[in-house]
Symmetry: C2
Subunit: 250 residues, 2 copies
DNA sequence: CAGCTCATGTGAACGACTTTTACATGAGCC
DNA sequence: GGCTCATGTAAAAGTCGTTCACATGAGCTG
């Protein structure tokens, strides 16, 4: 009937038991609340109920805590993008769009992670592990772009997948940074950030010669695994809105 | 033969004479060097040769100095975008491209301003003057988009200028944030940020139905078929490179 | 169980920063 | 010449990041 280690330690004697994790969680909350710049090492310690010196047993300094959070962020980011991509189902363009929305959703729903990853000003390429994690996340977009490029329409030249990936990334990051968070999010837009990005990507893909209408999707030589009956999934409809990527052309 | 005020004061007696300006300049240098997060009020004071309390005669607090810099940044930004736009000369698309490059050039050449404006985490919409300045800068892009939308090709529906402007802004900001500065700028790209953005915008415009080739400028409303000859061009020719917005279609 | 050891936490201390307060200086005006 | 007010200084309080010597106690070893 003896308690297991974690449970006993959680009752906080002299030794905290989970301090590292507790600090990470506390920091996550603080960053979400006040930004990575305003986040304070001492505050995290206080929130975990330990002295200001305790965190140094688990992190070399404040920056290492921040890096740890960014690292986790990139891992979760990668996971979400991978899930959204779902190996290109039901069709490549739809899945691609879903990745874009997942990007925005992550920026919106995980402001602390996003902040640590992209807005904290910490030198990503100084930390190999961090850089690798960010690389893995980007590779999801890259792989998706690869698949998209592979089914380039017959008439058009095949665009370099790497370039497409960088373009899509910059669009998603730009929209997320400018409109989907904190400051400028209040800027009154004619459409939601999700719609804005979706339209942007669709127009871009059309510019590359991809058919972006579900109706005209399965023409030439690519795998259309799914009949055109659109799943009425929740959230944003998977295709472009009827009438082109933007609402009312008139 | 008496010296004029400024000159006498510049010799620094008890009163500095230009402290406000000196602090702004010092801060600009410090931010360019160590980022807005690392910039320190005390350091700026030291650099100006005054005590740590002196700056409080000119700025309510550290944030107000930062806001002042961001404000100036937006003003210079607007000026540069306006100059780049040059009222749409010699033709709308060319001028539009130039605005994009001006955006990146500003981010690259004025890292301190750009940092204060977009990466310092200060609440832009909390300061009406700042918000207005940022609005004015954006309006340059908006006006350019308006002109572009006005000459929409006959076949295609006319895209909302506001949406176009937001799209272009997000592209420029995304490329600048991700690839054109500090951290991830080291990420090895297949092309320069300038080329990346140019291709992105050109593909986007083509997606809207705009002719993006100078040669076939006033034709019809479809993506022009591309001859397979690829230019291995260096530099960034102002139009789309012949052979499409990217280098080697192959 | 005694005792050892090492990971983990504490408290005190240092220097730097932000901001406030009381005081000093001197430029411009009568 | 003297007044006054903008602009500077020094000192102090409070916070942070960080280090160091020391305390605690969990888990092993016998």
């Amino acid at each position: 009937m003896s308690w297991r280690k974690e449970e006993r330690r959680a009752e906080r004697g002299y030794h905290h038991g989970n301090l590292k994790e507790a600090l990470l969680q506390a920091a996550l909350g603080l960053i979400a609340e006040k930004g990575a710049a305003g986040f304070t090492f001492a505050d995290a310690a206080r929130m975990a109920g330990v002295s200001a010196a305790a965190p140094y047993r688990h992190f070399r300094d404040r920056d290492e805590l921040l890096s740890s959070i960014a690292q986790r962020g990139f891992e979760q980011f990668e996971a979400r993008l991978t899930a959204a991509w779902d190996d290109g189902r039901p069709d490549t363009v739809t899945a691609f769009e879903r990745v874009g929305r997942a990007y925005l959703a992550f920026a919106r729903e995980e402001p602390a992670f996003y902040n640590a990853m992209f807005e904290s000003g910490l030198p990503i390429d100084a930390n190999p592990a961090l850089q690798a994690a960010s690389e893995r996340a980007f590779n999801v977009i890259r792989a998706a772009a690869e698949r998209l490029a592979a089914l380039a329409p017959p008439g058009a030249p095949r665009p370099p997948a790497m370039m497409m990936a960088l373009h899509i990334w910059s669009m998603a990051h730009g929209v997320a940074s400018l409109f989907s968070r904190g400051d400028a999010a209040r800027r009154k837009l004619p459409m939601s950030p999700d719609e804005l990005l979706e339209a942007e990507v669709l127009i871009y893909l059309r510019g590359l010669g991809f058919p972006t209408d579900r109706s005209s999707s399965a023409k030439s030589a690519e795998p259309p695994p799914v009949p055109p009956e659109a799943s009425s999934g929740s959230g944003v409809p998977p295709g472009g809105t009827p009438g082109g990527p933007w609402g009312k052309p008139k």
